[in-house]
């Protein structure tokens, strides 16, 4: 199982979250995971194609295609606007 989260405008664009999800056996990296979620429907395909999105795995920003493992928390979000 992995925990998938979406924040801010991205969560609203998707209209729903994911929560705990069982990883299909063939998915073992971030690129594969993203493509799998995008395959849900056109809304997900377009929203997750936004190149401005950041991805964090277990609270660490990742900028490359890295492996994903059971127990990971993977989160997509737009550029931050706090302060």
């Amino acid at each position: 199982m992995v925990q998938l989260c979406y924040f801010s405008s991205l969560r609203e664009a998707l209209g729903t979250g994911d929560g705990q999800v069982e990883l299909p056996g063939e998915i073992n990296d971030l690129a594969g995971l993203t493509s799998w979620r995008q395959s849900r429907n056109d809304t997900w395909r377009q929203a997750l194609a936004d190149t401005r999105l950041h991805v964090a795995i277990n609270h660490q920003i990742v900028n490359t295609n890295v492996p994903v493992n059971n127990g990971d928390e993977i989160t997509w979000f737009p550029p931050v606007t706090g302060g």
């Binding site: 606007t81 706090g82 302060g83």
Partner: protein, 147 residues
């Protein structure tokens, strides 16, 4: 010290606690308080809602403090960020740095608020007379922009 909270904070009280905690080690304290403006892009702001990523936010704020402490000689630091619904003129964020000398305190304070704006997972959603919208990072007063 970092805190993420829905409640308001008292900058005077925070500064006094920092003064007491640093107990003679600091000759200078510099602080920054961020407020909700009443106008953005010509629209009157009715409410500003701050969302964050619990867990990652606290780690990001601690990392910002640690970077500042590694870079300057600091006796103490504070980062407080509010989340949830806020009104115009409400306090959003508070950053303070105590140091032996003022230059380190000024630089560390500026570094912490600037880095917070680019590294900490907070998002602003504003409700105006024109509707509600998430702020974009390319707008004025957002990461990478002046002030």
């Amino acid at each position: 010290m970092i805190r993420v909270q829905t409640a308001d904070f008292d900058p005077g009280l925070e500064l006094e606690q920092l003064r007491i905690q640093t107990d003679g080690q600091s000759g200078a304290v510099v602080s920054f308080t961020g407020l909700v403006r009443d106008l953005n892009d010509g629209h009157e702001i009715r409410q500003m809602t701050l969302e964050h990523y619990p867990g990652m936010t606290e780690k990001a704020l601690r990392a910002i403090e640690q970077k500042a402490q590694a870079r300057w000689s600091l006796a103490g630091t504070i980062i407080i960020h509010r989340v949830g619904p806020l009104q115009p003129n409400d306090r959003i964020v508070f950053v303070a740095a105590a140091s032996t000398h003022r230059k380190d305190a000024f630089r560390a304070c500026e570094f912490m608020i600037d880095t917070l704006k680019t590294d900490a997972p907070f998002w602003k959603k504003e409700a105006t007379s024109a509707g509600t919208r998430w702020l974009s990072a390319t707008e004025p007063d957002q990461p990478g922009q002046a002030d």
